[in-house]
Structures are given as C-alpha cells and as structure tokens.
Symmetry: C2
Subunit: 142 residues, 2 copies
C-alpha cells in the first residue's frame, strides 16, 4: 500500500474544493459530511494542507477552506507527498530512513530507484484538473 486513507482523503477534499464555484469558503464540517469522512480525522489533514499553504483558511462564520491556485497547478504528487510523507516503494529509498548497510552491493537498489522515479513521474504528471475530468459517472449530491 503506497497511499493510505489519509492521502486518499486529502485528494478527495482537494477535488471537492476544486469543484466549488466562486470565492466562497467551505467549512470542514460540510466537507466531512459531503465526503463521508470523520470530521475529527479530517481536521488533521486540513491542518496539514493549510500549514503547507495548499489552501486558504479563514475562521468564523462564512469561513472554511478554499484553494488558492487553479486546479491545474496542483499535482497529485504534491498533495500525496505532503500527507503521506513519502511515496517511496520501499524503505531502502525513503528519505530519512536508516541507510541500508547493503546499499553498496545491493542487487535490487537500482530497481527500487527506477520504480520510485516512475511513481513520482506518474503522480507529478496528474493534476487536480485532470482528476475532475476523469469522473466516470456524476455523483449524487444531497
């Protein structure tokens, strides 16, 4: 599993915000209800997105969250890396993990590095705008 619930929730929220029209803010409660996500759990995700400057947040009535860039300018990779920490396929190539003592003579390391690059290129090549277009069937709202 390379992308956990946390990352998938983050993507869904960002898509949800991208779908919003106008300059209004969307409160967390509303996002959570619409997406069927635990409100409290979503808090930690939104906090991360806000801290990283991915979304604007305003307190109080009429407040909430909104994107501060166009959907085209958010790559799926940037969102997933923020929430997942790393998209590495193995711990061997995860930044910050203890360096493997066998890396000097590891038969598999070039393979892992190639895969990591492939995955990174894949996610960096997809934007929120692409996801919006990909929807197979319209969701029911209500």
């Amino acid at each position: 599993m390379i992308v956990s619930t946390k990352g998938r929730y983050a993507l869904r929220v960002m898509v949800s915000l991208a779908r919003q029209d106008g300059d209004g803010y969307m409160p967390l409660k509303e996002i959570a209800e619409q997406e069927g996500i635990s409100q409290k759990y979503l808090e930690s995700i939104m906090a991360a997105l806000s801290r990283a400057g991915f979304v604007d947040a305003v307190h109080g009535k009429g407040g909430g969250y909104r994107l501060n860039r166009t959907p085209e300018s958010y790559t799926v990779g940037s969102i997933l890396k923020l929430t997942e920490g790393s998209l590495s396929a193995v711990s061997c190539t995860t930044q910050g993990a203890a360096a493997c003592s066998r890396s000097e003579c590891c038969n598999a390391l070039p393979m892992w590095e190639k895969l990591d690059k492939m995955i990174d290129d894949f996610f960096e090549g997809i934007t929120l705008a692409d996801l919006l277009k990909d929807m197979a069937t319209p969701c029911q709202t209500g």
Copy 2:
C-alpha cells in the same frame, strides 16, 4: 511502502540461490547468515516459497533449498506477489478488500488502476537474471 521487509528478504534469498552454482542445496541457516537475516523469520518466507513451488526443498544433511527453474524464468513480480500478497498501490484496488461504496463515482479510481498496471508491468518485466546483472559493486563474501 509497497514492498515490505518480507518481500525484500524473499528477493534477496532468491538472488542468493540464483548465484549458487551446481545442483547443491543451500540450507536455511547458511542463507540467513550470509544475508544477515533472522533465521526464524526467514523460515516463514522459505516455507511460502517452497509451498508455492518456487524452490525445491530437501530435509536432512546436505539438504536445504535451491531454485528449480532458470533465473530468467522468475519475475520479480511473481516473487513479490507471493510474499506480499498484493502490490496494489491503494486498498481501493486490492483484490479481496471491501469494495468501496464510492467506486461508481470516484474521480481517482482510473488513476489507481493505471498505476497498479504500471507497477505490475514494471515488476513482471524484471527477472532474477536481470537483478544478478544489476549489481553495482561485488559483495564481500566471508
């Protein structure tokens, strides 16, 4: 993390066996020492490889494990799928997982499916023989 220690160990063991010349069997104890892997933990991995027919195993003195096919005929994908169970990037596309209620209108599902296929193609396109060639620097034996 898409490949855990278990899968990486399995790959290392298979590479180790592929490196062996002749028809001899390699006992688990020797593999574990050579690779610096917990002997007991390795037992469960070898048992899986043996049960799946990936290796031949014989009991008693002079026994142990050996490959029963050429290194070219083992794909990395087949070994990893056996030990990891699944190489899916997300639970949404993992066989056996509870079907997602949103799959009908999920913006991201096509992306996950495309990624899964890409990863599967990647691993199925690499064999043990390829890994043997990939070694950057010869390991020290002793």
